[in-house]
């Protein structure tokens, strides 16, 4: 705690810089220089990099970026510099195992290795998607009842009793508490009351987060998000989330959403920024584990070639250089009721699983709509377990992903995306089973990939 107070002091005493200059002269310029120095390049037909020297250089460049820049505190417009020994200490003390949940439902997350003998774990839910209150419980149940799902997450409640929830207003507190109550109801109904959660997704500001730190809501065995802002920035609101976990003791998940095509330029620079973001978030977000969620500047989705490459590069970089618990989430462009959603999810599941990450998903339809269901989370887990069990190599995986890209890449140029249908049109809300139509699409895609050699 004393160390963190010292970091807070630095937010008041660090070097002043305008935000625009931080973005351009610090983040963009330094990243560009490091990409050049380490000759980092990517190949759009090699979405899973296999060159160890390249992977290690990305880690080294990210480490240099973190040491050279530190973090920008938007609240005071000052730089929080981090000493090299603090950064090293942060890397050394990152948890390598972490128990989430309790009792028979507890799961142990662990720092994965490339080619790890142990299977990845799966967070089921559609983090961030706006879900109507009227079927929020049913939506969450659709994930919680999936046997392959180990840990639960959820969308965001944007309305309470027909009233719009506004960030930072009293209803945010109500919504976040309601979210946690509904999650516990779902766990009880599925007979998995001790399942661990990544929750308080309805807390966009710090208000909801503060309001659920209670053993009946967000338990000590659950986790919440401590976001890092784009790029390498944070503010007092997010630092308050980290501070909120001190005495209470809930688990912190860092969330930098590095924009691929943003300040880091292309995939190599974005990977470097993502590595640096994890490194600094060990200290400023008090991260117990990291959410790997780079997004595409134009398409958002994690299933684009560029983002797949960044996920794989960052996952492998940590596995080889500084093992940490990394959960890579899946945000497909397409929504429920479309075959493309299943192809996108399969591509992401292959990449995330083989790049030493655990998996979370799916934020279907870019997480913009309530077009998400437990069925694609089951599919995510099935594909990831299949490639794990058949010991697929990175080279084989690359061939698979290129083949899958051919089946869904058209959605990125489709006017209006490929949103599919809302949850209540693809699931029977009484039986909590997929409609015949959605089930048939799932069966069709499964048969197709089996036919192509996936042992699933």
């Amino acid at each position: 705690m004393r160390d963190y107070l010292e970091l807070l002091d630095r937010a008041y005493t660090g070097e002043y810089i305008s935000e625009e200059n931080w973005d351009l002269e610090k983040v963009a310029a330094t990243t560009r220089r490091l990409v050049k120095k380490y000759r980092l390049e990517w190949d759009r037909n090699q979405v899973i990099p296999t060159d160890h020297a390249l992977i290690d250089s990305i880690f080294q460049a990210g480490l240099e970026l973190a040491v050279e820049l530190g973090v920008y505190c938007r609240s005071t417009e000052r730089i929080i510099h981090l000493k090299p020994e603090e950064i090293e200490e942060g890397l050394r003390t990152m948890p390598k195992t972490l128990v989430m949940g309790e009792g028979k439902d507890a799961r142990s997350l662990y720092a994965r290795r490339i080619g790890d003998e142990r299977a990845p774990l799966f967070f089921g839910g559609s983090p961030g998607s706006p879900i109507p209150e009227e079927y929020f419980l049913e939506n969450v149940l659709s994930y919680a009842r999936e046997p392959l799902i180990d840990l639960l997450t959820c969308g965001t409640l944007t309305e309470i009793g027909g009233r719009s929830v506004r960030t930072g207003q009293p209803l945010e507190i109500v919504a976040t508490r309601r979210e946690l109550q509904l999650l516990h109801t779902a766990l009880a109904r599925t007979g998995r009351p001790g399942m661990g959660m990544l929750a308080a997704q309805s807390s966009v500001s710090e208000l909801g987060d503060l309001a659920v730190a209670h053993p009946n809501l967000l338990r000590r065995c659950d986790s919440h998000l401590v976001p890092l802002l784009n790029e390498l920035k944070l503010d007092f609101r997010n630092m308050a989330r980290a501070v909120n976990s001190w005495e209470y003791g809930m688990i912190n998940a860092s969330l930098p959403c590095v924009i691929v095509g943003g300040l880091g330029g292309g995939p190599p620079g974005s990977a470097v920024i993502n590595v640096a973001s994890f490194i600094v978030s060990n200290l400023v977000c008090l991260a117990d584990y990291h959410i790997l969620h780079p997004i595409h500047i134009r398409h958002v989705a994690t299933s684009t070639r560029e983002v797949l490459w960044v996920i794989s590069a960052v996952g492998q970089a940590f596995a080889r250089n500084a093992p940490a618990i990394i959960v890579a989430d899946i945000y497909p462009k397409s929504g429920t009721g479309t075959v493309e959603l299943l192809f996108e999810t399969a591509a992401n599941a292959i990449v995330n699983s083989l790049s030493a990450c655990h998996l979370e998903g799916c934020g279907s339809a870019d997480g913009k709509l309530p077009h998400c269901s437990g069925l694609e989370a089951r599919w995510m887990a099935e594909v990831a377990l299949a490639v794990h069990q058949q010991k697929m190599t990175l080279e084989e995986a690359n061939t698979w992903v290129l083949r899958l890209l051919e089946k869904y890449e058209h959605v990125f140029s489709q006017e209006g995306g490929n949103p599919g249908k809302p949850f209540d049109q693809v699931y029977d809300l009484k039986t909590l089973r997929p409609t015949a139509e959605w089930q048939a699409l799932y069966d069709q895609v499964k048969t197709e990939l089996k036919g192509e050699g996936l042992i699933i």
Binding site: R74, V165, G261, G262, G265
Partner: protein, 217 residues
């Protein structure tokens, strides 16, 4: 040697905010009209930057650097163009006040749209992020803006866009401004439902929308 106008265009494409000042000053000394520098030097450069960004050849820093170069050039040209506009009102460029609404601190989408609107020749007043609604309206009043452009990434910040439109109504100002809204979760249907004048999927569409709202195409 390339003409002044070509050099100015190139400086925008390269995002060089130092040399552009020198070349613009030299061009003016040599007798180039400010309007020609704007339309045949800066704008073609901005078009190239926009196109390269759209095609994935340029990234966000390139866009921001080009925005800086444009801003530096416009600092010199603005007073001269204002005199010209006073003599001929058709030369006046529309003003756009842009902000990410209160409680939302996401700026990248808004920055891209602001840069592209500036590149399209509009006078853009960027108020930053987490801006209180009344401040946005006050700024629009103070600067005599034509358009208010609002951004929100967070679903739970989007209702503030509706609140701003309601506030414009309450203050009797709704008819004075066109209101554009944008953000990852904003759909045309939602924009219509809150009484906005339109939305665009990305920065390129935002420029098209601004042109349409101003009756320029």
């Amino acid at each position: 040697m390339a003409s002044y106008l070509d050099q100015i265009c190139q400086a925008v494409v390269e995002g060089d905010d130092v040399s552009i000042v020198e070349v613009v000053q030299e061009a003016l000394k040599a007798g180039e009209s400010p309007l020609r520098i704007l339309n045949e030097g800066l704008m073609p450069g901005a078009d190239i930057v926009g196109k390269r960004f759209e095609e994935g050849e340029y990234f966000l820093p390139d866009l921001m650097l080009a925005g800086r170069a444009l801003k530096a050039a416009m600092e010199i040209l603005k007073p001269l163009l204002a005199s010209a506009a006073a003599a001929d009102p058709s030369l006046k460029k529309a003003k756009i006040v842009i902000a990410t609404v209160q409680t939302d601190i996401h700026d990248i989408g808004k920055n891209i749209v602001a840069s592209m609107l500036a590149a399209a020749g509009y006078d853009v007043i960027d108020m930053g992020v987490d801006v209180p609604l009344n401040s946005i309206i006050d700024k629009a009043e103070e600067t005599k803006a034509d358009i208010i452009a609002l951004s929100a990434l967070l679903t739970t910040s989007m209702p503030y866009m509706k609140d701003l439109i309601d506030l414009l109504q309450a203050r009797g100002l709704r008819q004075k401004y066109r209101v554009m809204v944008g953000g990852a979760s904003v759909t045309p249907e939602w924009a219509e439902s809150i009484g906005a004048d339109g939305t665009g999927r990305d920065a390129v569409e935002a420029v098209r929308l601004a042109r349409r709202l101003l009756g320029e195409n």
